[in-house]
Symmetry: C2
Subunit: 239 residues, 2 copies
């Protein structure tokens, strides 16, 4: 009946739970697949195929894809198709700019616009994360180290109580993580990243907004520098 052999009908059929909107769940699945490079930059995404895989109609899939295009993960070309976004140096630099602007403001805010009790809470929470990161570094567990890095930056943003700031930072970081997953030089960077994290916390503890901002700025510039070799290694994913 179907012209397509429907070979992979169940290949990666994900189970959707019933207590949450399907569109939102599908959004999460596809986003994770893109970050995890299961869906490759430039690859076409078929609304109908996804609808079959998830066992739903095109409508929720379509709504998920629109959301993904908002955060720059896919591009939808009317009447032509929907494609996983390729990387571009411009977009990476822009993501770094936005993230640096926000995170610098966050640590500056935490350093001066909070009482000492809160500041100590921040320091305690982040010191714990740094300690865990040292363990992950000793074990050479890049994935755990990565997750703790996420945790570190989200914890800082979380203490501002600005929920959207945290989610913006997370979104910008996700773009970087997608690119970074192409390269695994990370393990060589443990020590530098750890000492940079420590500098940021030290500055917040001392109540110096300038030092905190400067430390965060140094950290992010350094982290993004790792990405500069990737376009040559994987030109097929860039545009």
């Amino acid at each position: 009946m179907a012209k397509q052999p429907v070979i992979s009908m169940r290949t990666d059929a994900k189970e959707l739970s019933f207590d949450r909107p399907a569109a939102s769940q599908i959004f999460g699945f596809i986003r994770d697949a893109i970050i995890g490079m299961e869906l490759l930059p430039g690859q076409m995404i078929s609304e109908t195929a996804l609808a079959q895989q998830f066992g739903v109609s095109r409508t929720p899939v379509r709504e998920a894809l629109i959301q993904l295009s908002n955060i720059g993960f896919v591009e939808v070309l009317p009447q032509r198709g929907t494609y996983v976004s390729k990387f571009s140096m411009d977009k990476i630099l822009e993501a770094r700019f936005i993230r640096e602007a926000l995170e610098v403001a966050v640590v500056g805010h935490l350093a001066i616009n909070t009482d000492e009790v809160t500041r100590l809470e921040v320091v305690a929470a982040c010191d714990k994360i740094i300690a865990d990161q040292k363990v992950a570094a000793a074990d050479d567990d890049a994935l755990a180290f990565q997750n703790l890095d996420d945790n570190f930056h989200q914890t800082l943003a979380g203490f501002t109580h600005y929920a959207r700031v945290a989610s913006l930072i997370e979104a910008e970081k996700a773009h970087m993580d997608r690119v970074r997953s192409l390269s695994l030089h990370v393990s060589g960077q443990y020590k530098r990243i750890l000492s940079q994290h420590a500098s940021i916390i030290k500055a917040i503890k001392s109540g110096s907004a300038e030092k905190a901002a400067a430390a965060m700025s140094v950290h992010l510039k350094d982290v993004y520098n790792i990405l500069e070799v990737i376009p040559q290694e994987h030109p097929e994913y860039f545009e």
Copy 2:
């Protein structure tokens, strides 16, 4: 046939052009209506009513409303309805925080990471806008002054060539403009705003990132201070 008397079938029927997706056009119309306070905070929005007014089906209207909920202009409650977002001091402060972070970074970037030719272009473009604003202030034309203010900030962001930065700033500013439209004290502020704008440009011209950032920070804090009286004047729009 219809249970509704269809009284206002044509009340504000907008014409949609055929060369662009309906959903995107409807998004623009509703967003402008919300900024212009034609749709009031807390007011319910009916998908079906809007579909009738625009002469389309619910689908594109629905997609437009989802987009609007992403930028925080409406809230959609499943099975209950879609409502224009009310204001809240928390959200206003957060919008200010994000905007300040980005705009401070923008002027800092322009002050140091550009060659002198570009910097002179920035200064020239902004000086022109400031001159126009002086005229608008002399005429007491608040609307023109407002539009030029938009222009000023968008021009600065535009020179970074980071398109998403500009659009993020615009989005955050839109939230403020919506609140500000409740109050028309603006006319008393012309002189201060003008001199603040001039300070920002002067700092960029001198190539001092610190001074430029500080000047922008002062400006934005001052502008948002105007909003602090509004919750008392219009508690019905706040939550």
